[in-house]
Symmetry: C2
Subunit: 497 residues, 2 copies
């Protein structure tokens, strides 16, 4: 772990209380936002994206919110009055998004101080991450000036804030509903991947922060904030280089004690570390050290982005209650069941034979030919009633801890129209969730084979009902196994799921 | 490896030549098919599926084809004349699909012999796979009678044949175009998974065979057939229990010598083996033995169904030509590139730094801020021209063996309508394929983040143009690595890709 050059820059209001709120809370609740450097006219690209994302989220429509595009050459942008300078915007402006080139930043710094803003987010790149000494100095100087004036800095070289509760967003088509998951990310692209990827699976977010070079605010500040943030139940994070090693460890430890934390570390291989250095100027650590830290504090280290997604789903649905390795596998046909059993066993789980008493119960209504009641269970019947009855009986078996079943859209799903498919998807999610609740045995749904048109809807509905859904049995198996391992590793720590 | 009870039943025309064609060729080219036990009226379910699939494929519309539903109680089914018995159908009937219950099978056997059919496929289950001695005897007896009369048997307990060239299919919505991939499967569900899953990714099939219990025809017969089948360039297979160990090995070895073979073995874990035994009555072998066999003969052992899909894509696209471990990673944004580099390194590949001369060429048109020319390359420009220019230059670098890039649908893809997206997808596939051809360096496309609506179209277009596309960098990395490993293991064997 490394400390970067700025680790001694003491932020002005670090640790200061404000009406009982954490000092960082204010930056997530700006009353007005100025976008400095919004392109005018027909220009496209990432810079304009910030403006259109705020419009899409309706930031400007919220009570007492102001949205001020700043462009020295424009009087109006997309129907909004444009200001020629930050100093011309109405008061107050709490948050500034800087979209201007690096060389123009020093003037903006002066203006932001004069304007008494609370926070400034530099989308602007081209600073310390380039490896250029002069630009690294410029970054250091601007951050010193801003923090000395009590202004917190996000970035540079980052995407900033997504706070759906306030209508703040940095990419288009992010969900508008707020949720209970926080994502603290050194990378904007990965923040987008998490919001869109997990968003498509039904997850909603409290705060997502892309902090890039982390010249002022960095992972440990947000971990510290998350400890007392009532809106956050799960903290996920993507880290390239650990800045302020000791502070990072202290904040992570305190957070992981009380809330589930899932960390994904980039740059753990030689090739990845080289890429991380180009990206945020980070020096990456080793897998062993990072893994040991996560184990010690009781956080979960995701191995890939998919793992981060999948374990996030597990720990925010009924699956988090799974208590043992016994899986009941239902449906999917013979060969599929064989491969699924292999996948579960490979992940350290078990598909135990159905106990005799349970077999007896099942054989009362499941015929012999073309079926199996041995676990994997294959009733070879598509109807909901048989499936429900089977699941209810299996859930009572003493060797079953979790049920894994397939999303199925009923007879002639090929021919059903989208509305009908959506209705069936909702019905199925609610039906399985009811069973999960009644029996106390977590139910996991596999979406392999779900028609593309209804996949997102089904995932949303399943998650809304508290069901964990995965695209493949391998990913489901790893997620189930993760919950069991994670709980085991937290022995001695408070229960968090 | 085990031999089942029927391994001594010598098929009547085994090894006999027929106009230079392999003796099994005839079963893939039936002139007329009788479906015995098609449900009439409003009944639904799998049995009816066989009939509707043949109708969907237009089997009956081909020259000199006949399609005869048989049902003792119906005169017409879905507009087709129905026959009360197989014996009432017109002559000739080459292929019979049995959808009747096991107890009614003995009579059908007599009729099939009298009718002089060539082959019979028993969807009918409830035989040896149940573990019931009486039913196992029934299976043995019927197969002995049929094969003694020169009739080949598929199954029982299977889905039979998908031969798009002839309009034969066993599930709905299978592609109608024929292709060059064969799948030999002990499981119908897995056959469906392969046809639909790989089908969605653009792969097309010569013959797909689900042979279930394999009471007569089994894996080694189809491997032997595939050796000389001009329509098949790649053989994929799902096996639960190896029947006729020595014959299996001989046929596999001969086939793998001349064509790429990808094998997926089910039941390699305890749980999987239990499931396989319930499914097809198979006794599974161990991972070690199976792995050793594959290495020895130069076949590829897929670890999961996804692996089978992914390596099939690799070996039938330009990716099969990859010669080394040097990957050029283009696009995707900083944090994504870091994780992608980690994934590639984890799979044993390399993301080498861009050579100095190449850096110089790139820096002539790629600006410094917010970009990287170090590999991973991030031009931060969405336009095709910059990307093409970059790829062409990177392909010439001496340490680059393969290029991995992201599917991208251009500016404002969010707002584009489906037709426009499809057009862009086709353009992109053709553009990248042209570069692949020009440079001789394989190009792999990642589809993560591709809008669902256009995913299948893009995959189809990419595959049609000879590009390998994968949903995640992990899967792409494994596939690239598989080609390199596979080629290495085939040292001393003929070049097949």
């Amino acid at each position: 772990m490394t400390q970067d050059a700025n680790s001694n820059a003491a932020p002005a209001n670090e640790g200061a209380g404000m009406e009982g709120k954490h000092p960082l809370d204010a930056i997530f609740h700006p009353r007005a936002v100025a976008l400095v450097g919004v392109p005018s006219g027909e220009s496209q690209g990432a810079s304009l994206g910030f403006f259109t994302s705020l419009l899409e989220q309706g930031f400007h429509e919220r009570l007492n919110h102001g949205l001020y595009p700043v462009n020295p050459k424009a009087d109006e942008i997309r129907g909004f009055k444009a200001y020629h300078s930050l100093l011309e915007t109405p008061d107050p402006v709490d948050h500034v998004i800087s979209l201007i080139p690096a060389r123009a930043v020093p003037m903006l710094v002066e203006q932001a101080i004069q304007k008494k803003v609370r926070s400034i987010h530099f989308f602007t790149a081209g600073f310390s991450e380039t490896g250029d000494e002069e630009m690294a100095n410029l970054e250091r100087t601007m951050v010193e000036k801003l923090t000395a004036a009590g202004i917190r800095v996000l970035g540079p070289n980052c995407m900033g804030l997504y706070v759906p509760y306030e209508g703040l967003a940095f990419m288009n088509q992010f969900p508008k509903e707020p949720g209970n998951v926080m994502f603290v990310s050194q990378s904007g692209a990965n923040a987008g991947d998490v919001v869109r990827g997990l968003g498509n699976r039904g997850v909603r977010f409290s705060k997502v922060i892309s902090f890039g070079n982390g010249s002022d605010l960095r992972a440990h500040h947000f971990f510290d904030y998350a400890i007392t943030d009532d809106e956050t139940d799960l903290v996920t994070s993507y880290i390239e280089g650990v800045q302020d090693g000791p502070k990072f460890l202290t904040a992570l430890k305190a957070l992981a004690r009380v809330k589930p934390v899932i960390l994904l570390k980039g740059g753990l291989t030689g090739a990845g570390a080289r890429a991380a250095h180009s990206h945020t100027g980070s020096l990456a650590g080793s897998t062993q050290i990072f893994d040991a830290v996560c184990r010690q504090v009781g956080a979960w280290r995701a191995e890939t982005m998919d793992d981060l997604h999948d374990v996030s789903i597990a720990v925010t649905t009924g699956l988090k209650h799974v208590q043992g390795r016994g899986v009941c596998l239902v449906g999917g046909g013979g060969g599929t069941a064989v491969l699924a059993s292999d996948a579960l066993a490979t992940a350290g789980l078990d598909v135990p034979p159905t106990p005799e008493a349970t077999r007896k119960e099942l054989s009362e209504f499941i015929p012999v030919a073309g079926t199996s009641i041995n676990n994997p269970i294959d009733t070879n019947m598509g109807d909901a009633e048989t499936t429900d009855r089977t699941l209810r009986i299996m859930a009572r078996a003493e060797n079953i801890d979790v049920i894994v079943t397939n999303a199925s859209f009923g007879r002639n799903a090929d021919e059903a129209d989208l509305d009908e498919l959506k209705r069936r998807a909702t019905d199925q999610a609610e039906r399985l969730a009811k069973l999960q609740q009644e029996t106390g045995v977590p139910i996991v749904v596999l979406t392999r084979g779900t028609p593309h048109a209804v996949l997102e809807h089904f995932q949303y509905e399943a998650y809304r009902c508290g069901l964990a859904a995965y695209p493949t049995i391998q990913r489901a198996a790893r997620a189930i196994s993760a919950i069991l391992q994670w709980r085991e590793r937290r022995e001695g720590l408070p229960t968090i799921f």
